[in-house]
Amino acid sequence: MLEVKELYFRHKGEKRDILKGISFTAEKGLITTILGPNGSGKTTLFKCISGIWGNYKGEIKVNGISIDKLSYKRRAKLFSVVPQDHEPAFPYSVFDVVLMGRASYVGIFSSPGKKDYEKAETALELVGIRHLKDFPYTKISGGERQLVLIARAIAQEAPIMLLDEPTSHLDFKNQINVLKKIKEIASLKGLTVVMTLHDPNLASLFSDKIVMINSGNKIAEGSPKEVLTEELIKRVYGIDVVRVSYNGKNIIYPNL
């Protein structure tokens, strides 16, 4: 379980807080989505939790233990991170990229061993992209690339998986495929999944819990049904909407 408590963040030398005391929790086996419009502080929050920006105020706990002072190596064993856009300088094969998920298990003066190769193979299998194994990572589609990064996160074997806008560069079909895959793996592996999204409809379809943020504040936290009300969407996104129900899920329909 992941617990974020009273998180404040501001860039060095700036007077304005980007995060203004955000708290929320994410549970094992469930998908928690941080939802908010562009510039709401989603990415900042994501970078604080994943440990890229360490100079925040507040506390982040995993299973009750504070992680604020952990080394990169220990942190990588708790969190796996699926970054947003990813362009390696060199055309590594898909397998090489997945194998890099094992970095925190490989000593500084050594290379991955047999066990690491097996874990990478299993991760490829689980995500269903084994056929891409030997392809150059730079030559596959955006949706496939996202799956490769998810496989890499699985090979990392961390209990918490963080995904930054996993659908932002994908077409409609791939958005659905990738999110379905994430949901499947979260429940299969019992992972705590935290992702950021900016589309309320995708959040509604695929999340167990939504944390809505706007201009650095948490606006609401709860199930998609509780959070995504017409009134709240109007307030946060500034547009007039209607909530439509289908198959037990809600869809936000803009009033045109």
């Binding site: 970078k47 994943s50 440990g51 890229i52 080394s71 990169y72 190596k73 220990r74 942190r75 990588a76 064993k77 969190f79 796996s80 991170v81 970054p83 990813h86 362009e87 390696p88 300088a89 060199f90 055309p91 590594y92 094969s93 090489d96 194998l99 890099m100 998920g101 970095a103 925190s104 490989v106 500084i108 003066f109 050594s110 290379s111 991955p112 990392q156």
Partner: protein
């Protein structure tokens, strides 16, 4: 297929080295070269006291070995720097390390002859790369083009300092500085080979052991951190080891550019970017290339052309080719 290519690159220094031993002003037959080598190492052939023996053992063999080790050092430093800076267009020469190391050597020869020359080369080499890196770094990111530009600036700065040293030293020492700066193996001897082994032990071997990390580090700082790599520490280690290898090379044979850029590229084209194989094959490829370039430099005309000229003549067109071919890919972020 890949395996055969890799094996070919791996054994190429030995074949090219053997060819280099029998080419030269004094003709020695290929078979005689083998006999002399076997006589020296395993004492199986007794070739007697022939002049060929002295030419091979005292003159050509140390020269070939030195060229091979220096080539491996420069190419190994190149592949490492390209990996940590995620920039296929850098090498020790472009980043100013060679110029910095050369300045360290020049002031040692000129004024501070009581200090070990390799130590001074290392100190100023690391200063140069630290400068180039700091100048290019904005908001935690080091983009490709700024890094190359700052390397050019740092390189020019240290080259100017070398000129000041040349201007101030007494003419007797000036001659040895000028000759050494041109980049040549003509002064190679067994003592130089022994010194070059320092670069292997404290430069190439640690890089070889850490080579898989280059894969992770080449993804960029944020991603490598998220994967559990202590980026600042590892980057420092990689820069330290590769600068040490370059400092040793520069102290022995002056400034030789382009090897560290070209060889890793060619190897990457042939066998792919995975540093697990790329690093050792870049060592081997660098050794082959340097032995070949040195052999050309001493055999193509009746007098010797500095080997730095040969590498620049091949390297500059290669760099242009990479720029044109890479287009946006090479110059983008």
């Amino acid at each position: 297929m890949k395996g055969i290519k890799a094996l070919t690159i791996l054994i190429s220094p030995f074949i090219i080295g053997w060819i280099a031993l029998f080419l030269g002003a004094y003709g020695v037959s290929p078979l005689m070269v083998l006999k002399i080598l076997l006589n020296e190492t395993l004492h199986v052939f007794d070739v007697g006291d022939i002049p060929e023996k002295a030419i091979i053992v005292d003159i050509r063999l140390p020269r070939v070995l030195l060229a091979g080790i220096v080539g491996a050092c420069l190419s190994g430093a190149g592949v490492t720097l390209q990996g940590i800076f995620r920039n296929p267009l850098v090498d020790p020469f472009i980043l100013g390390i060679s110029a910095g190391a050369a300045f360290g050597c020049a002031i040692t020869i000129g004024f501070l002859s009581f200090l070990p020359i390799q130590f001074m080369a290392f100190i100023f080499g690391i200063t140069a790369v630290a400068l180039a890196y700091t100048v290019a770094r904005t908001q935690g990111e080091v983009s490709r083009l700024p890094l190359i530009l700052s390397g050019v600036i740092v390189s020019a700065f240290f080259t100017a300092l070398v000129s000041i040293v040349k201007f101030l030293v007494d003419p007797h020492k000036l001659q040895s500085i000028v000759y050494w700066l041109m980049g040549s193996f003509s002064l190679a001897d067994w003592k130089g080979v022994k010194v070059s082994l320092l670069g292997v032990v404290f430069g190439l071997i640690p890089i070889f052991l850490m080579r898989w990390r280059l894969n992770v580090m080449s993804l960029g700082e944020e991603e490598a951190k998220a994967l559990g790599v202590n980026v600042s520490r590892d980057r420092l280690l990689f820069i330290g080891f590769s600068t040490f290898a370059v400092a040793i090379a520069t102290s022995l044979c002056g400034i030789i550019g382009w090897v560290g850029l070209m060889v890793p590229h060619l190897v990457r084209m042939l066998i792919g970017p995975d540093h697990k194989t790329l690093v050792p094959l870049s060592f081997a490829g660098g050794a082959s290339f340097m032995i070949a370039a040195d052999t050309i430099s001493r055999t193509i005309t009746s007098f010797e052309i500095p080997v730095g000229i040969i590498t620049a003549l091949t390297g500059a067109p290669f760099f242009i080719y990479l720029m044109k071919r890479g287009g946006k890919e090479a110059w983008g972020k």
